[in-house]
Amino acid sequence: MKPKRLIQIFVVIMLVLSTLGGSQPALASSNSSAHSDAMVINRNLNLWDATYFGFVNSSIHEKWHFDFTESHNFVVTVSPITGGFIPLLILLDVNGIEIARGTGSLTSTQPAGSYSIQVQPESGGGFYLLTLREVVQSLPAVSTVVSPSSVNVGESAVATVSLNNVPAEGYTSAEFTCTYDASLVEVSNILVANLFGADPATAIQDPQNGSFIVAIAGSNGNKATTSGVVFTFNVKALQAGQTVIECKVRVNNGNNILTDLPSIGSSLTINGVAPTLTPIASPTPTGPTPVESPTSTLPPVESPTPTITVPPLESPTPTLTFTPVASPTSTPLPNGTLTGQVIASKPVTVGLYDAGNLLITSATANPDGTFSLTAPAGTYTVRATASGFLSAQGSAILTGGSTTTKPTIALLAGDIDNNNVIDQFDAMTIGMSYNTAVPAAADLNNDGIINVLDLEILAQNYRDTGPSVWE
């Protein structure tokens, strides 16, 4: 027999032994989540996108071990070769605790660590091909990764929420709504990272009834332009069970419209083993007054469902209110016209005031901000106002029979309480009215709901005072 033929026979024998797990130690397993009486053959899964052969039946299951050095979003596919065989895949952590399962394939996102995929028949049995592939996300998405994926009662895990495949134009703000099983876990310590640049404006609606909201807006023109971690939070296990922790996101790419992105959650398994209880680190009151229990006197939580009550918009057609000025002479001065444009996302009112601060005439600007006022020739103060905005003020000299045009001006948003300064109380009004529609002045972008977009606008003008100078 030729040496070449001998080598071919040797290779075929090795392939057959490989499918039967001949090169791997066979160990009986009886882990808690994937318990069965079948013998479990341990095998190694070392390569991405490679195809591995395997064989399982009702008495032989296979467990493929693999390690991650960083977080991966992956899919494991098992394609049966034998007819009538439907494979069941169970993702296990390093302790053999089930993380997730799927029939035929399984998709998951897991942090760095050791894992295994147990393949067993859901029905039938036979040969199969197994492939581990990285899920390449070409579209923007949000992912939530919990590490570790399995904890005991009383222990904590850290959940990391990341934005992936962020487009080059970036996001100016985002609103994350995270959900979990409140009977199994408790969420705390929400920490916002710097993906939206230094010093972002953030509103956090604290965890209640299994969900919480984190709204983040870049300040000073900052925005998220790269993929990365947006925020993290702690998850403390309260009782045994399994919960999916997922944060959905709506992003704003600068057009003041919140758009939903696909989301990938993670599963947290809580084992019933209760370790020695560690007391919850509660803030130690150092003042002379003891802290009262925060839960005993809380009023019922308002409904999170926003009730949108859009106030009726003022007529877009300018309505002129002309009040003739009492002229000191018997001949009335000819009228002059003042035109211009005031930019704001709310209806703008422009008024002319005389030297005694008496309103001479006013008009509501058109939807594009343009306005036209007619009044007797003279020198006036012109003032533009809009609900929730700092007013703008300047002088205007009207000449009889001619038109004077003021430069275009943009009003600064954020003066919600109309006290001529954009301050903490304006921001607090947004925080107190989150996800509602009142007061309408807090709805700075006039989209019918008070949320992160309004906070984002306010943060850009924080500490500004009015009235703005209208040259």
Partner: protein, 215 residues
């Protein structure tokens, strides 16, 4: 006799009325700090406290610090439902604001603020302003009137000896990142460093040219 008794009774009632008002303990905010002596690199924890018989929906505080001695790390509120509104910060001033969608009882710790010591200093933290906020009839946040601000200052003695950096243990609740804008902190130093490098580079190049021509 009856008139005298009535007068005494009226007097006693008036006195009791005064005492009753006094015992109601008006709304108060004050600053406390436990340890006042630190080494460089250690964490300073100060606590903003409040006592209020009125339910509030927000609060704000501004703490002045010396940026040469201290760097703010974060602030957190243990009051459930109080959401942090981390608005843009200024160097030398911690500006914290919190709001809740529902009225809350506050009697005790409102917020904890952490700083890192930067060098040996005799410095202090000053509660420059603080307010409790309610939601008024129009739906706007408004300061609760009549709030008394108690202890405002905490003197700190920071040793230049480097201490062990404390782990930043944070309480539950919304966290405020308090770093002032980076540009305000390091821009001038960066420019000076670049100028020094350019100066040395120019001198070195000049010397090289001189010696090279001379040789």
């Amino acid at each position: 006799m009856k008139r005298i008794s009535a007068s005494i009774l009226a007097f006693l009632l008036a006195i009791l009325g005064v005492f009753k008002v006094h015992a109601q303990s008006p709304e108060t905010i004050w600053l406390t700090g436990g340890v006042t002596t630190f080494k460089t690199g250690e964490t300073v924890l100060v606590t903003l406290n409040a006592s209020s018989s009125t339910l509030i929906q927000g609060f704000t505080f501004q703490i002045r610090y010396d940026p040469a001695c201290l760097r703010p790390v974060n602030a957190s509120s243990p009051v459930p439902g109080m959401n942090g509104l981390p608005l843009p910060q200024l160097t030398g001033l911690v500006d914290g604001s919190y709001a809740s969608i529902t009225p809350q009882t506050v009697n005790g710790v409102l917020a904890e603020v952490r700083f890192t010591t930067l060098k040996g200093c005799q410095t202090s933290l000053t509660l420059e302003s603080a307010a409790l906020a309610i939601r008024n009839a129009e739906g706007f946040a408004a300061p609760l009137p009549g709030v008394f601000i108690g202890e405002r200052n905490i003197a700190l003695n920071i040793d230049s000896e480097v201490g062990v950096s404390d782990s930043t243990q944070q309480g539950s609740g919304s966290i405020l990142p308090l770093d002032p804008p980076a540009a305000e902190r390091g821009f001038s130093g960066w420019i000076i460093g670049m100028l020094i490098i350019l100066l040395f580079g120019g001198v070195g190049f000049g010397a090289y040219k001189v010696f090279r021509i001379g040789g």
